[in-house]
Symmetry: C2
Subunit: 214 residues, 2 copies
DNA sequence: TCAAGCGCTAAGCGCTTGCTCACCCGTGAG
DNA sequence: CTCACGGGTGAGCAAGCGCTTAGCGCTTGA
């Protein structure tokens, strides 16, 4: 095992995908899926983008769907980890929520091609793979819901409908992957900051007095 | 012209599509596109759902893409009208924004199959059709942005980044079409009310004092 | 009564799709 | 040098795709 083999994760975008040809194919697939969608993408297109023949794909992946599954799995793991790390930091619920939202959004904007595939091509997965991925989503949901609950308990937040608001917050963040960079002159950091501010206002208790009934 | 011919629009969901067979096919297409996506749907599937042979589709529509365009056009017109009507009602900016968001969301939830096709299958359209539809979206954007501007001017709202917040509000509303009814026990009205409340909190100025510079 | 015309179908065309298979070539151990 | 072997290619298969066409039966106006 060389030093290069060891430095595979976290640093390089798709470092966890180990034969270089397999990684090139996967990156090409992310590009193509993000651009055209899973069903509109052909295996020839993917192989072509990777500079290989159509048959090369099947040396490293059993089917086209397996490629999508690998992308989806790795992407969801990454998104969930980003959310969890931010949520587990020390601080007030407000600080934790702002951190979670800004970093989650930053990822969805900065890696919007990956995020688009991960978030919007779920239905193209086989039933077994789909349920596996849905479980990861449920955990993302639990992270946000946890912060909201903490904030309500501490009195920092005023959230009448915690599950519904959780859904809205996640939906808001995820949808960044759809529109980002189609228009924009904004950086991922700017969008992250903007969204963190908006979400905080959505849930924060009015600072002055306020007994909750009006 | 009979009375039945006259009562074609607004009341019945797809009343503006006039030969009954064409309407049946279009409704079948909405179902199929919403369920599987445009590219994963076959013309045989659409015709089958409508109880007709595959060839019947081509009597009423020149191509499969024309079907998508018709759905997209009618759907966007409807969504834009709902937004505009709500925005032009009398009232404070807050009331107008709440009305616009709640009715827009109610439509996206209640007709989530149509909305999903309309909002998420844009890329499957031909370039010309796509630009036509994008123009309609720009108008939706202008409606929301207008209300926000009014609210900022009147002092009801405190929105540092009006274009960014407009984008966020629309994104939030539109994404309802993606998740609604996959889980939920919520009614469209409930989601509309919830979202109107969340959006109002996102943009409202803190009531006590505040001279606007900080 | 009957021919015209319209809505619809059965059959199928040409093409593309996901995927396979026989073979090739550079590398490294014996 | 030889030869096995893993990563790669060119050609192509079966199936399914969007779409077309010849023709059928029902309605309709003269």
């Amino acid at each position: 095992m060389t030093a290069a083999d060891d430095m595979t994760c976290e640093d390089v975008p798709w470092g966890e995908v180990s034969p270089e040809a397999a990684r090139k194919l996967l990156i090409a697939a992310v590009e193509a899926f993000a651009e055209r969608g899973y069903h509109a993408t052909t295996t020839r297109d993917i192989a072509g983008r990777a500079g290989m023949s159509p048959a090369a794909l099947y040396i490293h992946y059993k089917t086209k769907e397996e490629l999508l599954h690998r992308i989806s799995r790795i992407g969801h793991d990454r998104a969930l980890r980003i959310l969890s790390v931010a949520a587990e930091r020390e601080g007030t619920p407000g600080e934790r929520l702002a951190g979670a939202v800004s970093s989650f959004v930053r990822w969805h904007a900065g890696r919007h091609d990956t995020a688009r595939v991960v978030q919007y091509e779920l239905d193209a997965l086989s039933p077994e793979h789909r349920t596996e991925i849905v479980e990861l989503r449920r955990r993302s949901d639990a992270v946000i819901r946890g912060i909201l609950r903490d904030g309500v308990e501490s009195g920092d937040f005023d959230v009448p409908d915690v599950p519904g608001t959780t859904l809205a917050v996640l939906s808001l963040c995820v949808d960044v992957a759809r529109w980002f960079n189609t228009r924009g002159h904004r950086t991922p950091d700017e969008v992250g900051e903007l969204y963190a501010g908006l979400v905080l206002r959505m849930v924060s208790a009015r600072s002055s007095s306020g007994d909750g009934r009006d």
